[in-house]
Subunit: 406 residues, 2 copies
C-alpha cells in the first residue's frame, strides 16, 4: 500500500469521457489498496477561454481578478471528477486551493506556494476517501484566490505529494514519458525509463516540456519521486528521481533542443574590465533572460565581439534596449540572427566520462554542421547552430551517443 | 449620499458589452456620491451549461460538488465586472461567498443564509471602493461552497442590503418593473410605481416572476426597500416597500395568473371529520404542494366532492399517490382537468374596500366565464377558470378594476 498523488492535465480531462477514463484509473489505484489524492487541471481549452474573456474585459487587467476568474476552470474539473468517482462507488471530495488551504504568497498570476495544510486531506485518505484537488491555485495572505502560473498544476501535485508525505507523484499527460529526443524529429528516439531531477531540469528547460520546470525543482528539493505517464495508454512511463549510485548509467541520457533562441552579436566592444556587466546588467534589470554568452578573444587587444542568445520573445525588446544604450555600452554595430537552434546533450554520467563534448563536435563536423556558440555545464553540453541543420544534427548526435532504439 | 446594493441578473451580464453597460451604471451611482455594492449572476446560459455538465457526469450527483461547480458562473462575472470597473477608474474588488463570508446552512443546492459578515465590504465602501459580490452562493458550516438555489442572486442582494444597512436594493433585470398584468396578454397593462411586499409576494408567486419570492420575504423581514429596474433602459422602475398609510391606494394593484395548475376532484368522498386530513396529510408528506381547496356541500349528507389544485409538475405524482391510497382515503373516482388557469386580483386596498370579489364575479359573468373554484385571502381573490378563457378574463378584469393605461 502506498500513498500516491496523481495529476491529470487538461487533455486528460478534456471532456466527460476523458474524466470517466481518469476516474477508472483513480479507482484502480484505490482498489489496489493505495491512498490516493488527485490533482486536476482545467478541461482543455477552458483556461484559454477564460483568459480571452479577461483580456477582452481589459488589456490592463488586475491580476487578482484574473486569478479569481481563471481558477474556475480547475474548480469545475475537480467537482466533475468527484461526482464521477462517487457514481463508481468511490468516496470522493473536491478541494479548492482556499479549502485545504494551499497558502501562497500574494504574487497574483504566478504565486509561489508557502505552506500546505495537508491534515484534513490526509485524514480523509486514511479513511479510504479520494481527495480531488483543483490544481494551479492557492490562497494569498489577504484571503484572495491566487494562481501559480501556466503549468502550475504540476507544481501543485508535487507540493501536495511533499505535504502529504506521499510515496510518489504520478503525472498523467498526453505522452507516455520522457524521450531521449523529440520523436517527431528523431524516429529512433527511445523512452527513458529513469532520469535524475537534474537531467530532467536540463531536458525540460531545453524544450522537452513534459513537466513544468518549477515542479521538477520542487520534487528535487523535497525528494519526491515523480513518474510521467500517459493517461491514455497503460505503459510504465518515466521515473524522475534522485541519482542512484549503482544505477546503470548512460553517459548521455537525452538530447534536447530549442528553436526559440536568437543570437545577438555586438561588434567592436571595448575589451575592458566591466564591459560584460555594462551590457548584461541593464538587460537583467529589464527582465531579459540571457542564455549562452561568448566573448571572443580580442584580436587587436582593444576591442572584442560579444555574442549571446535571448529567447525569441525577448528579441525585439533586447534590440531596442541595446540601441537606446549604445553610447553607454560602446559598440560598433548589432548583428542579429534568429535562424539559430540550440542543441544540448544531457546526462549526469558525463561528470565521470571524458570526451562527451568532443564526440559532439566530431559528430557535427562529420555532417558539416558549423558550431556558432558553445556552452557547457557539469551535466550538459550545448551548442548553437543554424536552424537549417537542426534535424540533421539531432539525428546524428542521437546515433553518435548510442541512444538509437534497436 | 446613499448606500446602495445593485443586483444584475444573467441577461444584464450576458456578454462583455452588457457587463460594460452595467459598469457604466455602477460608475454613475458612485460618481453621484453613493456607496455601492454590486451583486452579479452568472452570464446568461452559463449556469445551464454547468448544470448540464453535472447531469452528464452523473444523474444522481452529489449536491456539494454540484454547488462547487455551478458557483463558478457567478465567480467569473464578479471578476470580469471588477476588471471593467477598474479600467474605468473605479476601485473595485470581487468577493465570493466564502470570502465575505456569506454563512449559510449546509443544505446544498438550496442553502439558506444564516449570517453575513459585512464589515470588510462596508469599510471598503466607506473608502469609495465598489465591492462586487458573486450572487447565489455562500459558505457552509463545514467550509464548503453552497448555492442558494435558482434565482438566489436576488436573495443575496437583499440579504447584503440588510447586512450592509443599505438605504435600498436595486434589482436590475430585463423588464422595467412590475406591471398591473402581463403586458403580452393585456396591452393596456401599466407599470406599477409602488407595490407592498405582501402584494409583491402574491404577484410573484402567481407568475409575475420579476423577483424571487424568497428575496421579497427577506426584504419584508428586514424592511429593505427594493427597486425593480431595467438594466437596458433609463426608467424609474417599481419600488417594492412597506405599506405607507397615506399612500394613494388603488383597491386592486395588479392581476396575476398561473397556467401551471391542474384541478383534481375526488368524487363521493365520505363527508366525515378528518377526511381532508386523510387526503392532504399524505400529499404534504410527499412534498406535493396543494394550492386551492374546495369541499362541496354534501348533497346526501353522506358523501361530498373534494376539489383541489396542484402544480402541473406534481400532477402525475399526485394521481399516482391518490390511486395507491384509494382505499384508505375512500373515494369513487378521480376527475382531473389540466386545462385550467388561476387568476388572482391582488391589492392591500381590498382590506378596506367591500365588493372587490363581487366585481370580479360580475366581470367574469358578463363575459360568460364560468368560475370553477374560488379562494380568497386578505389581499387577494383567486378564481380557477378554463384556460380557454384566460386572456379574455384577464383583459375584462383589468378594465373592470380601472387598471387600464390611458
Amino acid at each position: 500500500m502506498a500513498r500516491i498523488v496523481q495529476k491529470f492535465g487538461g487533455t486528460s480531462v478534456a471532456n466527460l469521457d476523458c474524466i470517466r477514463n481518469v476516474a477508472v484509473r483513480v479507482k484502480a489505484a484505490c482498489d489496489a489498496g493505495n491512498q490516493v489524492a488527485v490533482v486536476v487541471s482545467a478541461m482543455a481549452g477552458e483556461t484559454n477561454k477564460l483568459v480571452d474573456l479577461v483580456k477582452q474585459a481589459s488589456a490592463l487587467h488586475d491580476s487578482a481578478e484574473y486569478d479569481a476568474i481563471v481558477a474556475t476552470g480547475e474548480q469545475v474539473t475537480a467537482g466533475l471528477l468527484s461526482i464521477v468517482l462517487q457514481s463508481m462507488g468511490v468516496n470522493a471530495r473536491s478541494f479548492l486551493g482556499w479549502q485545504l488551504p494551499i497558502k501562497t504568497d500574494g504574487i497574483h498570476g504566478r504565486a509561489r506556494i508557502d505552506d500546505i495544510d495537508g491534515s484534513q486531506a490526509v485524514s480523509l485518505m486514511e479513511k479510504g476517501h479520494v481527495v480531488v484537488i483543483a490544481g494551479f491555485q492557492g490562497l494569498s495572505p489577504d484571503n484572495r484566490v491566487t494562481t501559480l502560473g501556466r503549468g502550475g498544476s504540476d507544481t501543485t501535485a508535487v507540493a501536495l505529494a511533499a505535504a502529504f508525505k506521499a510515496d510518489r507523484c504520478e503525472i498523467y499527460t498526453d505522452v507516455d514519458g520522457v524521450y531521449t529526443c523529440d520523436p517527431r524529429i528523431v524516429p529512433k528516439a527511445r523512452k527513458i525509463d529513469r532520469i535524475t531531477y537534474e537531467e530532467m531540469l536540463e531536458m525540460a528547460s531545453q524544450g522537452a516540456k513534459v513537466l513544468q520546470t518549477r515542479s521538477v525543482e520542487m520534487a528535487m528539493n523535497f525528494n519526491v519521486p515523480v513518474t510521467v505517464l500517459s493517461s491514455f495508454e497503460d505503459k510504465p512511463g518515466t521515473i524522475v528521481a534522485a541519482e542512484i549510485e549503482n544505477m546503470e548509467q548512460e553517459v548521455v541520457t537525452g538530447i534536447a533542443y530549442d528553436k526559440n533562441e536568437a543570437k545577438i552579436t555586438l561588434s567592436s566592444v571595448d575589451d575592458r574590465p566591466g564591459v560584460a556587466a555594462a551590457i548584461f546588467g541593464p538587460l537583467t534589470e529589464a527582465e531579459i533572460n540571457v542564455d549562452m554568452i561568448v566573448q571572443n578573444v580580442s584580436a587587436d587587444g582593444k576591442t572584442t565581439d560579444m555574442t549571446f542568445t535571448v529567447s525569441e520573445a525577448d528579441f525585439d525588446r533586447t534590440i531596442d534596449h541595446l540601441d537606446r544604450h549604445k553610447s553607454e555600452i560602446g559598440f560598433k554595430e548589432i548583428l542579429a540572427d534568429r535562424n539559430v537552434a540550440k542543441i544540448s546533450v544531457v546526462g549526469v554520467g558525463m561528470r565521470s566520462h571524458a570526451g562527451v563534448a568532443q564526440r559532439m563536435f566530431k559528430a557535427l563536423a562529420d555532417k558539416g554542421v558549423n558550431i556558432q556558440v558553445i556552452s557547457t555545464s557539469e551535466i550538459k553540453v550545448s551548442v548553437l547552430i543554424s536552424q537549417d541543420y537542426l534535424e540533421l544534427a539531432l539525428r546524428a548526435l542521437h546515433t553518435a551517443y548510442g541512444l538509437d532504439a534497436e
